[in-house]
Structures are given as structure tokens and as C-alpha cells.
């Protein structure tokens, strides 16, 4: 076994393409030792709702998913956003052979969110001080970021101003 030869390899790729009508096409593809799968999703903008979805799934040891595309149509109208995973799981079910499909739909949705996030991040200044202020202001504008990761954790320099404002608010 210990011959440095790969036992298992996984490649997952997600891409998001804006279409002429402003909607977004998100595609998640998976190729690993056992699996070849793809999910294609059209997201209507600015509502961020799944407007079209299709997929394919082949796996070495899991049963074929009967009517995968029919099952995926249950997701039409679901909004890409907070809380979507529980909705996707709830609508598609949690059978073993659907695990990866659920995950890939979620990844395609994350691709859309990250595509929109990228647009915001492109506005960050290059100058170090201004860049710091940009991110400090971002957490003030979107409190959901606060204490959600190491960068915006309690006590982080990026949240110092926010915490000072909170303390001042509490004292009033």
C-alpha cells in the first residue's frame, strides 16, 4: 500500500457565467475515482431564484438515480441564499445516492454567491490602510460577518471600531 501511488483522487470544478439577459449559469462538475457528475443551473437575477436545472450522475457503486432530472425540478423557484441547504435537502431527500447531487447543487449555488461576492471585493482599495478600512466597514454594514471567521472574530483589529461602537451603544 505504501508506494506513494494515489489511492483516490477528486476534481470538482464550479464555474459561473453571466448570460446576456443578466441571468447566471452555474455549472458544477465532479470527477473522482468513482463518480462522474454534473449539475447545470440557471439562476434568475436579481431574484436569485433557480429558474432551470438539470444534471447527470454516474457512480461506480451507487444505484442509478431514477428520474434525476424530474427530482431536480422540485428545486425550481428556490432562492439561492441563506438557509438554502436545508431546503435543497428537504426537497431532494437524503438518500445515499442523492448526497452528492445535493452537495453539487449547493456548490453551484455557492458559485453564484461567490460570483456576486467577487464583484464587491473588486471594489477593495489596494492601499493597505484603505483596504483595512474597507473590510472594517464591510463588517459594520453586514453584522452577519461579525464573529463568523478568524478575520472578523471578536477582538480582531477589523472589528475594533464596531466593538467600540457597540460598547458606546450599550452605555447609552
Amino acid at each position: 500500500m505504501a508506494n506513494n501511488i494515489l489511492e483516490f483522487s477528486l476534481n470538482r470544478s464550479t464555474s459561473v457565467e453571466p448570460l446576456n439577459d443578466g441571468n447566471l449559469l452555474s455549472i458544477c462538475q465532479l470527477r473522482d475515482t468513482f463518480t462522474a457528475a454534473e449539475i447545470r443551473m440557471l439562476v434568475k437575477m436579481p431574484e436569485l431564484e433557480i429558474a432551470e436545472i438539470s444534471g447527470s450522475f454516474r457512480h461506480a457503486y451507487l444505484d442509478e438515480i431514477e428520474d434525476l432530472n424530474a427530482a431536480l425540478q422540485q428545486l425550481l423557484g428556490v432562492r439561492v441564499g441563506a438557509g438554502m441547504l436545508k431546503i435543497i435537502k428537504g426537497l431532494l431527500g437524503e438518500a445515499e445516492n442523492l448526497d452528492q447531487v445535493v452537495y453539487m447543487v449547493e456548490e453551484a449555488c455557492h458559485g453564484v454567491i461567490l460570483h456576486l461576492t467577487k464583484k464587491v471585493l473588486l471594489k477593495a482599495p489596494e492601499d493597505a490602510e484603505a483596504k483595512f478600512a474597507f473590510y472594517a466597514n464591510m463588517v459594520k454594514k453586514s453584522i452577519r460577518l461579525y464573529d463568523r471567521c478568524a478575520a472578523f472574530a471578536k477582538g480582531s483589529p477589523l472589528v475594533a471600531e464596531l466593538e467600540a461602537e457597540q460598547r458606546a451603544g450599550g452605555e447609552r
Partner: protein, 396 residues
């Protein structure tokens, strides 16, 4: 065709020896680039020697995430570990490292299945991979101690009056007033209509007792428990009311395909996802009331305003034809998102409510709903909601 966002992940798993795997993961996308390395014991799927590396990141503080990756030491990578990775690595380190870790954990489980099959073949088995795994299920319950996030797991037993439920985190109950709380104060009768408690809502961190004590301390006149797909019993609520001499109501935050709904006066134990249209049918049949919870809850770095969602577009969502009211002040969303909800409620002439969406005592009562009349029972609460004599308020 121009792809404007790309994310590529590569995970490789190698056998170090008969008992150990080495995992190397790469996540490289339009925004971030990071790597993760760790080892795993094949017999129990426990990982160790976790390390990471940033190649590209965003904020000046992102590099701090690396020091928190060690918290994954000892994780058992069985199915069900994803939520723990999200909670611990995602929240303390970085959600992108968590995403990569989850991908690696999947690769590890698949590798172990492959190794078991290969071992069986070496031992003379002629079963195909599929037959072997379907007959043997070798990886079910390797260690048996992994947290599994299932709907059933949410059905925790909560005894409202038991000592076990009184995890009050150092809070002391204020002295009981001789006059009850069920009277309209100067500003009206103020109820926080959206409160989560632990353990009924797995995402909450404070107990119902702690929440009630804090609600009394800050001067609320009632709270409504809206635990996720969790139905409190009438007797539990009555016990809480009596014990704390405080109006406690129950509702339910139910997940539909169109988002979360706060449902009042409806006592079916709904698990999983229900279609909003079906929920509406059932709730209307018993005279209940549905409020669209945080309808424009957005994202971490951008909001409805960034994507050009106008009031007209927002108001045209099918959801608003099926709900009885809209939560326009929610403590977990931005001012812009609450503002859009307010505009939509006004445009559609739907009643508007407020609630903290508190998951711990520090935020209970942040927003609330002020009623013009005292509300003494759930029946009265539902009647008051239908009547419409209330408005959302910033309370705390």
C-alpha cells in the same frame, strides 16, 4: 461565453502505510487559494497532523485562520461530520477551509471503501465493488460517536420545569412583581415574536429559562418561542408561564421551499420541508397566521441593494401571496434588508411584525412587536395578529 467565477478543488489521498492515509486538498478559485494537509487513521477515520496554507486571500486578517485549523485534530470523518466542520472550522478559522475540509472528508470515506474492497479481493472475494459495498457496508458506524444532524436529533426532550433545563448562564431571575405582566404598558404590550432556545433549536446557545429571565430584565412583556420545526407542548409553555410569572407563547419557524415561515396558532409537528402552498392550506384551516420570516435575508458581503432587487420585483415573489404578514424588523439581517421588507409590506398592505431572531440572551428583545392591547394567551395572540393592531419596534 465568459466564465466570471471559477472554483477548482483537487483532493488526493495516498496510503502512508497499512493504517494511515495522507490527504492533500487544494481549493483555488477566483477569490481564494488555499491548501490543506492532514493524516487519517484508517480504522477509525480520526484525523491528525492538520495544517493549512494560504496562497491568496482577501482581508488583512485572513492569515489568522491557520492557527485555528488544529481544532480539527481528532475529528472522526464519518458521515455527519460536515456540520461540526462548518461550526468549528468554518466559524473560528474560515468557511473556505471548512469547505475544503468537508471535501477531503468525503474523499477519505470513499478511499476507505475502496481499500476495504481491495483487501477483500486480495482475500479471495469475487464480489464487484457495488455488491461488496452493498452487502458489507463496512464503513457504517466505524466509531459510532459522530454527531449526526438529522431531523430526529432535533426532537430533544425538554422539561421546562426541570433543573436540567435551568442553564441560566449566571443570570438571576428578577424579583417577581405582584402585578402580572399581562397589562398594556405606556408604549403598548411588547412581545418579541421570534426567539430561539437551546436545545430545541440546535443553532441556539442559551436555554429557554435564560431567555425568559433576560426578557423580563429588559422589560419585554412577553416572548414567543419559535424554535425551528419544533413544537413545544401546551403543558411545557404553561409551566414556564407559571414558573416565571411571565407571558410565554409558542409558535414555530417552519422551513418551506420559499424560505422560513413563523407560524402562529398551528400545532402540527411539521418536520422537513413543506411547500408553502400546503402549509398555507393547513394553517388557514385552523385559523392560524403565517409571517414570512426575514424574507430578504441576504449574504455575508452583499445585499439586495447590490444585486439591484427593486421593491416591485421583490413584491412580486409568489411567497407574498400566501403569507398573512411580513417580518420587517429582524435582528439577524441588515437595515437595508429590513427596509426592503418594510417597503414590500407597505406596497402589498400586509401586516408587519418585528422579532429579534435571538439565539442567545444578548440579542433577545432587540426587535419586537408592540400590540395595542394586552395579550394573555395564544388564542389572543393569534386573534391580535389577524386584527392587525400592532407594529414592529426596535426595543433594545
Amino acid at each position: 461565453m465568459i466564465s466570471e467565477f471559477n472554483r477548482n478543488k483537487v483532493i488526493n489521498v495516498v496510503s502512508l502505510d497499512a493504517a494511515t492515509l495522507a490527504v492533500h486538498g487544494i481549493l483555488d478559485d477566483s477569490i481564494y487559494s488555499l491548501e490543506l494537509d492532514f493524516k487519517v487513521r484508517i480504522d477509525d477515520l480520526v484525523c491528525f497532523a492538520v495544517s493549512g496554507r494560504w496562497l491568496r486571500w482577501t482581508t488583512p486578517e485572513c492569515p489568522e485562520a491557520l492557527k485555528f485549523l488544529a481544532q480539527a485534530e481528532g475529528f472522526c470523518l464519518e458521515p455527519g461530520i460536515d456540520e461540526k466542520i462548518h461550526k468549528i472550522i468554518g466559524r473560528t478559522a474560515c468557511r473556505h477551509f471548512a469547505n475544503l475540509f468537508i471535501e477531503c472528508a468525503y474523499a477519505v470515506r470513499e478511499t476507505v471503501k475502496l481499500l476495504h474492497w481491495q483487501q477483500a479481493q486480495a482475500d479471495g472475494s469475487e464480489l464487484s465493488l457495488k455488491d461488496f459495498l452493498q452487502r458489507g457496508k463496512p464503513q457504517e458506524g466505524v466509531a459510532g460517536a459522530t454527531e449526526r444532524s438529522t431531523a430526529a436529533a432535533n426532537k430533544v426532550e425538554i422539561k421546562a420545569d426541570s433543573a436540567a433545563a435551568v442553564a441560566v448562564d449566571g443570570l438571576k431571575e428578577p424579583a417577581k412583581k405582584t402585578a402580572g405582566n399581562a397589562a398594556v404598558g405606556k408604549g403598548g404590550f411588547v412581545i418579541d415574536l421570534h426567539v430561539h432556545t437551546s436545545p430545541a433549536s440546535p443553532c441556539a446557545s442559551d436555554s429557554v429559562t435564560a431567555m425568559i429571565i433576560e426578557a423580563k430584565r429588559i422589560g419585554l412583556q412577553g416572548i414567543c418561542l419559535t424554535d425551528h420545526n419544533y413544537l413545544w407542548s401546551e403543558s411545557e409553555i404553561e409551566a414556564l408561564r407559571r414558573k416565571h410569572d411571565f407571558p410565554v407563547f409558542r409558535a414555530n419557524e417552519i422551513v418551506t421551499e420559499q424560505g422560513d415561515m413563523l407560524v402562529f396558532g398551528f400545532y402540527e409537528d411539521v418536520q422537513g420541508i413543506i411547500k408553502l402552498r400546503e402549509l398555507k392550506r393547513r394553517v388557514a384551516a385552523v385559523g392560524g397566521f403565517i409571517v414570512a420570516a426575514h424574507p430578504f435575508r441576504g449574504f455575508l458581503t452583499f445585499g439586495a441593494d447590490d444585486i439591484g432587487l427593486t421593491r416591485e420585483k421583490a413584491a412580486s415573489r409568489e411567497m407574498f401571496q400566501l403569507v398573512d404578514g411580513i417580518e420587517v424588523l429582524n435582528g439577524k439581517v441588515t437595515e437595508t434588508e429590513n427596509g426592503l421588507a418594510q417597503e414590500v409590506a407597505q406596497a402589498l398592505k400586509l401586516p408587519a411584525t418585528g422579532g429579534s431572531d435571538a439565539h442567545d440572551v444578548s440579542t433577545v428583545g432587540f426587535y419586537a412587536t408592540v400590540f395595542t392591547q394586552a395579550v394573555n394567551s395564544e388564542k389572543e395572540l393569534v386573534a391580535a395578529l389577524h386584527k392587525g393592531n400592532y407594529q414592529p419596534v426596535k426595543f433594545r
